[in-house]
Symmetry: C2
Subunit: 136 residues, 2 copies
């Protein structure tokens, strides 16, 4: 595995841990996943952006009291220097959302700095547009 | 102005140019704003992510045929190494959307690599949550 493949795999691993914490209602893991500084943001469906660590984690505290059975589908990783994004769909029962998850690389770890999710108006195909494979 | 302030101002300038091209239906400017490579993504309201330059610009080609009177409100810039994000609200008539705009630094220029927008279910206050000022 090349360094680049490894970095991309680590990015996808961080994204998986995010959804495990989300679906599992695990606030401790969720808090550890996010970067320790204050330059964090989160845009939940139908809401304006929340900015700063306290607001972001307070939002997650509310959501994780009663976590939805969320599942990540077709994640596509993109590396931009020390930043990484994962574009994916989220399935919650019969509903789908489109998500943007942004991470920052700290040593060998990817820490989350932004999550944005919004509803998708139709059930996507099993191989939705643009999710056919890795981006080169 | 410190280097950091200047870089942040340039990021906000790129974000402004994005909205000028968007509202002005200017496909040539829109195309030039996006990075030249293929690691681009765009998540329009209600849609799954589009991945790759051709798909992203094809989506803009459709939208810019009949551009909405979109206006960017309360942009908050965040720098992550060579990447930069702007979180903002978009106002289109009486509707609001929340947007995540991600840019990549190329020399002195910020080039767009991702745009994600989704509807906000209520009209935000003039000083919406988390938009009270700059992030430190």
């Amino acid at each position: 595995m090349s360094d680049e493949d490894e970095i991309r795999a680590e990015l996808l691993g961080a994204n998986e841990r995010f959804y495990a914490a989300f679906a599992g209602g695990d606030l401790r893991s969720m808090s550890a996943l996010w970067a320790a500084h204050d330059r964090l943001a989160c845009t939940h469906p139908g809401r304006p952006p929340s900015i700063g660590r306290a607001r972001v984690l307070s939002g997650w505290f509310d959501i994780l009291q009663n976590p939805p059975p969320v599942r990540c589908i077709a994640p596509v990783p993109m590396i931009i220097g020390a930043a990484g994004m994962v574009l994916c769909l989220e399935q919650v029962g019969q509903y789908h959302l489109a998500a943007t998850n942004v991470f920052e690389r700290e040593g060998r770890h990817w820490r989350m700095v932004h999550h944005h999710a919004g509803p998708v108006e139709f059930a996507p195909d099993p191989a939705p547009e643009g999710h056919s494979g890795q981006v080169h």
